[in-house]
Symmetry: none
Subunit: 198 residues, 4 copies
DNA sequence: GATGAATGAGTGTTCATTCAT
DNA sequence: TATGAATGAACACTCATTCAT
């Protein structure tokens, strides 16, 4: 990995733990094993590191949502949009993804005193997931599996459950394999319960 | 309010926004309108302020849970443990309470790099509320309103919903009257939906 | 002398030589024999040191011009406003005075890139002295020693001569006793020549 | 203009405003629109830029004084060494010339803490002009227009006036057309007054 | 109870310069 | 000719803390 990438990676590692203010340029330089002044060759200033991270995060999400949109359009049967899809794209490439997870933790820390971070936080942790999950359940109405009202309720409940689990398992302490598995199992159990009832 | 109280209040105001490290003794002294050195008359050091806040928070919660336990013991009919109780004690005196809300925000910020704060965070934002809410629904089984399995599921779902709403409405941006009302309404609607179905 | 005074004195010593930008807080602290951080107890920031110096300079000059005004009003004969007066107040307490001389050098250096310093420079090195010197010669008209036109010309010429000598002797290199004497003598010779002709 | 010339030009632009120390290699590179490291292809180091400027200045002046010497030798009547000559060579090619004017400002700033710059400053702003102007008036004695004593006094007075005007008009703020005109007019008026009296 | 004065360590950032390409 | 990448030293300034008063 090149220096610039290493700076971003290590900066985020620390930002996600201690927050922007508590991580010094010295800290970052030390972990990357370069001199502080060298950081200023790659980034205008400390804020520029943060900005680069946000930019990277947003383009990563854009990629994922684009993939989701196109896969929704080409949907022929229910099973093609399923548990596997959720796992592969929503869990593995987003919630469990080291970079995205760290960005979420970072936004969580910064949102209280940084207006622009708060906007990102509200959008990427609540509004966007809620919209996507409701949309996903709406698809089931096309296949006659539930009516719109039911879909909306299921979407809300599922979003609430996923969100709670995200905060409880994925946005506390270290993100371990065990936590990912526990999260996965609880979601699996929830979905089973949900479809069992009906 | 005496100086010591003012220091605690203003320190928490700022800790809950920017985190422990980003708030300086200078900042606190300035808002309290005393000199920095004066803070050291009331507190051993900066960490001592944090410790005092945690202590105050824990004794506040102890008080609330004690009240909850005794009211559960003296329970004669369902209606006496009800929506009003939830509002009065769980919402007003805990989730909406300025001090408790700020402490939750503070723990949320610190938990990622402070082991003892992480333990508090996990306990007071997930484990304790989850236990209390499940217990509450269990009471309904005593009155024959649902069986244990139903109570457990209801407890889980309700906890998930409350938790999600707490993070979305009460632990973002400023805690306004509007947000409290929105939170209140959404919980009310959820409960209605829940009992309607059955 | 107290710390604050020492900081001002030593800062000016260096500012007058190297200019504001070339003198570091480190430099000042070192000469005053305190730690850099201690400077910030006495001054808000580096600019605050400059501002304090300017303030001190302006109040010093105010004092001098006030004295001049009152002595002009109480003037009964020519000799009471004379060469001695010039020497005592204009030379000793202003041009030769260490503090004032250093401030002039400082303004000379800063005026090219600092708008507010340029205004001070133009005022205190040209406008004010020119006005005062013309006024002084005007007094001689009251005693019938010359007419207004002659006074104006004498004022202009004298100002030009003093100004040139100031820049040549007092605002170059170190301000030595030898230079002050040379300056004094040249002015004396000029005045003699001036009154000899008439 | 080639890169090397551009570096010199822009460096002087800034040196004359802020002084040597306050202008960084970065600043220069930015205005010339090259990278900092590129400057080191053209100049050994920062000091080398200053040295080149001084060298250029001295050879420029050498050229002017050579022209002056030869024109003095070939002098047949008074009018050929006159007001026009003063304007053309002393004003236009020296005092008003952007490069020379900036060098004078630069020397003015640096002289206080740079020994070699002080020597240049004293020479080129006082000694040389004074000698030249006295010499010029001496020429008038050859044509019987004044005696040596008068020439010396006239030289001194004229030098004082020119010097004062130079500092007041040409070595403060920006060098505008208006200032050059004011300077020109004041010198013209002075000369008129001088020859009128006699 | 409160403060004036001080400090060593640390903050983000800029500096002139080097050197391989 | 010019640059990308790096660096040690310095920059103005803030930090939590101490201690005598």
């Amino acid at each position: 990995m090149e220096t610039k990438e290493l700076i971003l990676k290590n900066a985020l590692d620390m930002f996600a733990k201690s927050g922007y203010n508590s991580v010094s340029i010295r800290d970052i330089a030390k972990t990357v094993n370069i001199k502080e002044s060298s950081i200023y060759y790659h980034f205008k200033n400390k804020q520029d590191i943060l900005d680069s991270l946000v930019e990277k995060y947003e383009s990563h999400i854009k990629e994922l949502t684009d993939m989701l949109q196109s896969s929704m359009l080409n949907l022929h049967n229910v099973s093609s949009f399923s548990w596997d899809w959720l796992r592969e794209f929503y869990f593995e490439r987003y919630l469990f993804d080291t970079f995205c997870n760290q960005m979420m933790r970072f936004m969580m820390i910064e949102q209280f005193h940084n207006e622009s971070m708060r906007i990102l936080y509200e959008h990427y942790l609540f509004k966007l997931p809620h919209r996507i999950q409701t949309q996903s359940f709406m698809i089931l109405t096309k296949f006659g599996m539930m009516n719109e009202k039911q879909a909306e309720k299921a979407g809300n409940d599922f979003f609430a459950y996923i969100t709670m689990l995200t905060f409880q398992y994925l946005l506390t302490g270290e993100l371990t394999k065990a936590k990912k598995d526990a999260f996965d199992q609880e979601v699996f159990a929830y979905i089973n319960r949900m479809f069992q009832e009906d």
